[in-house]
Amino acid sequence: MRSDPAEYELVAPGNLQAALSLLANDPGAWLPIAGGTDVMVQYAAGNLPARKLLSIWGLPELRQIEVLPGEIRIGAGCTYSELREHKTLTGEFPLLARAARWTGGIANQNRGTLGGNIVNASPAADSLPSLLVYEAELILASVRSERRMPYREFHTGYKKMKLAPDELIRAICLQPRFSTHVSYARKVGARNAQAISKICIAALGKAAGGLVEDVRIALGSVAPIPLRLVETEKSLRGKRIEPALVRLAREAVAAEIRPIDDIRSTANYRSIVAGNLVVEFLQKLGAGRNFT
């Protein structure tokens, strides 16, 4: 049933310090809302447990993309459209740019934010595997301090994360260390736009002399959190890219992921397709071709 707006409080403090102060004064009481592409959907369905909302949409401190020496710092409130339009970012991080294009339609890209997507913590979010393979770091802000955390440590379980009740994600930091890697991304869904993925992948690799020199693989919708396939990566490193590697790759992937049946797909389908995607990535890696 539709929610009654009279039962909800929404405040818009206008700057980051004021927002953090509100959170600190009453930790856990406020639900931050940025572009509303997730929160307003729950609200419309009458499924929003929070009654007090804190608008962080348009906070200037969260809206910048800073190109620093050795690092690009993306404000957590930057929208997918802003990511797509940033030439340095899309040039250095094609997997994130690709995922930004896949996330929702244009109107949702104009409102959905990268920080919001991280906190919403959907295991199917298209952008999160790219953050895993790029080894993104998060800056978490509170009135107490700012701290940095590797993104791979942030999600600890389904919709569970290391974010204190008085904290906001301030920025997502990416270091351009992978410009000579082959990039590979695919989304498998009912359609590309709007449809939530059945499964999605972001991968980076480097091959030399027919051997896998470096490989980084992350998948969405195969576990309670976006999953970096650390064990699979280990088993592939140093191996010759040849047909025999296909079987090893499939077995390693199947052993590492934990897909489920849900409304969008089945565990069995996801397991087979996950193997297919990793195999296709290895083929592109062997051929030295990007596929994004």
Partner: protein
Amino acid sequence: MSLPVTHDRRKCEISFTVNGVPTTVDAYPMERLLDVLREELGLTGAKEGCGEGECGSCSVLMDGRLVNSCLVPVLQASGANVVTIEGIAQGANLDALQEAFLEFGGTQCGICTPGMVMAARYLLSKNPHPTTEEIQEGLSGNLCRCTGYIQIFDAVANAARRGFGA
């Protein structure tokens, strides 16, 4: 952007510009922009299809950006420049994009049409000469159950050829 601070759940005065007209409404901050446009301001062009940001029938421009007005709490529209389908035609004179929708059969039942026109207008404002694929991507957030889309894509392509967004 500065937004008014409210500290209670009561209605508050929220001001923004709609189709060029400075407007103030007395609304709950969590009211959806779509509902305020339709019910408070009588602008019923934007439609509610899904109410969850999937169908694009409620598309409007907010500060020049295409948004689903069903997902915008009206407080976040405070100070914004909102353009709805009612703000496009000059009186009875449709603009060239709207004419193209008529000419190419890009509208049938009409429910998706205001959103389609707004999304197409936004696309052409960013990219005056889109490829077919870019038109498809630009309208991918707008669902139509009548036309099969081809007539809509043709209408947008034709408007672009006539220099609509240039």
